[in-house]
Structures are given as structure tokens and as C-alpha cells.
Symmetry: C2
Subunit: 138 residues, 2 copies
């Protein structure tokens, strides 16, 4: 298995467990970056990447989140997903770059259509705020 395949296997396992922060921290490189679908500036460092992916796990918990296709090439992978939240269809991609050990170095998310971007923006902001107010539940 190449680094992307090794990394994807771990990623899928962490997702099955609901994106638990400790499990996320174990597969994310210390200097990793997260690029949200909404904001231009990346979130730098393991702690922030964990916080965003844990929040996403909560937001998509009951959304019928399903990966539809996978494009894997060297250390990189694009995973396309569909989901539905409050009747809003969400189609998006996780573009993940792994280091040579299969740890996540860079995680970028884009979604369509416009309605989905707006929906996720609100849900993620609320979830990140809730996690800050109750860190034990993050």
C-alpha cells in the first residue's frame, strides 16, 4: 500500500468511530493544515485540524453522509461525498494529502451547490462554538 492507501484506511476507520478527537489526533500530522469550504485562510496545526474534523463529524452525524467516488494518486486522494441536512443536498470533496507515513498533512473541503455552502457554514459555526463552550463534548 502507498501512503495514501495506508492513510485512507485509517481515515475511514476514524470516521466510522464518529471522528473522535483522540482518534483524529492519532492520524493527523503535527503541522497539518485544514482548508474550509467557507473561509480562505487555512487553519494551521494538529489541534485546529482535529477541532474542525471533530465538528464536521457532529454536523454530518445524521446526514446519510456517503462517499461516492475516490481518486487516489501517489500521496493524494480526493473523496467525493453526498449528504443531506434539513432537506439540503450536500455534494462535496475531501482532498487529503498524506505524508510518507500515511499521516494527514493537508485536508481541504469544498462543497456545492451554494445552498449547501451556506447551510454548512451555519452548522459548523454553531458546532465549533458549542465545542468551545463544552470542551469535554468536543
Amino acid at each position: 500500500m502507498n501512503p495514501a492507501q495506508t492513510g485512507l484506511k485509517k481515515w475511514h476507520k476514524v470516521m466510522e468511530g464518529g471522528n473522535a478527537p483522540a482518534a483524529l489526533a492519532a492520524i493527523i500530522a503535527e503541522d497539518a493544515a485544514f482548508h474550509s469550504p467557507v473561509v480562505h485562510t487555512p487553519q494551521q496545526g494538529r489541534a485546529l485540524v482535529v477541532a474542525y474534523l471533530a465538528a464536521a463529524g457532529q454536523v454530518f452525524a445524521d446526514s446519510q453522509f456517503t462517499y461516492q467516488r475516490e481518486i487516489v494518486d501517489g500521496n493524494q486522494a480526493m473523496l467525493e461525498f453526498t449528504a443531506e441536512i434539513d432537506g439540503v443536498h450536500i455534494n462535496g470533496v475531501d482532498i487529503i494529502q498524506f505524508d510518507d507515513g500515511g499521516m494527514i498533512k493537508d485536508f481541504k473541503v469544498m462543497v456545492r451547490p451554494l445552498k449547501a455552502v451556506n447551510k454548512l457554514w451555519k452548522m459548523m459555526a454553531a458546532q465549533l462554538q458549542a465545542a468551545q463552550a463544552h470542551p469535554s463534548k468536543a
Copy 2:
């Protein structure tokens, strides 16, 4: 070369020529579909796919549009790009599915951040309207 590599070579050539409609029509399958970053419902058929990609060519004409990375796997490819229009940073992906002959079967675009989605929505609507009003310039 596999179908995606053959198809990508043609696509890059068509882009260098500014997405001319006749050149686009020659590399797009008759039953192709285009999925915009803004609208959920796909645009079906070669004529509509050509119209959208030609409009995109106009919208990005002076935007310093640059492909940043390419993930290629079997018949599929993800091309990530950056551009800038009126000071708005645009980061997006073209996710292209090719048929076995290297013709474009499915073309999906997603962009980030939110500002870029809103900007492109306005620009594309104006461009598609202008092309309809002056078909010779499309």
C-alpha cells in the same frame, strides 16, 4: 496513456485556446453532464456543457487561472486551480470523468471559499446571458 491522460492532454490544449466552443464540442461526449458549483441540478448534453465551459473560459480569461495539482486515477481526474477575479481569491476543482476514448463524460466544478462561490455565480450568470444575446460571440 490511459483515457484520463489522453483526455487531459486535449483539455489542456482546448483551455490554452480559450475554451472555444468548436474546440470544446470536439472533446465532449454527446451525453455529457456539467455540474456547476452553484446549482444542484446537472446540465445535460454536449450543447449545455459546451455553453457552460465556454462561459467559464470568458469569466476566467484575465484571472491568472492556474492549475495547482492534479490527481489522476483510471478514467477520472481532479484538477485543482487558483484564480483571482476583482480581488476575490478563487480556489476550485474540476473533477472530470472521461469515457474510454478520452472524451469528457462528466465535468463537475466546486469552489471555495464562500466569497468565490458568490462571485462566480454572478459572473457566470452574466456571461451565459451575454452569450445567449450574442450567440456568435459564445
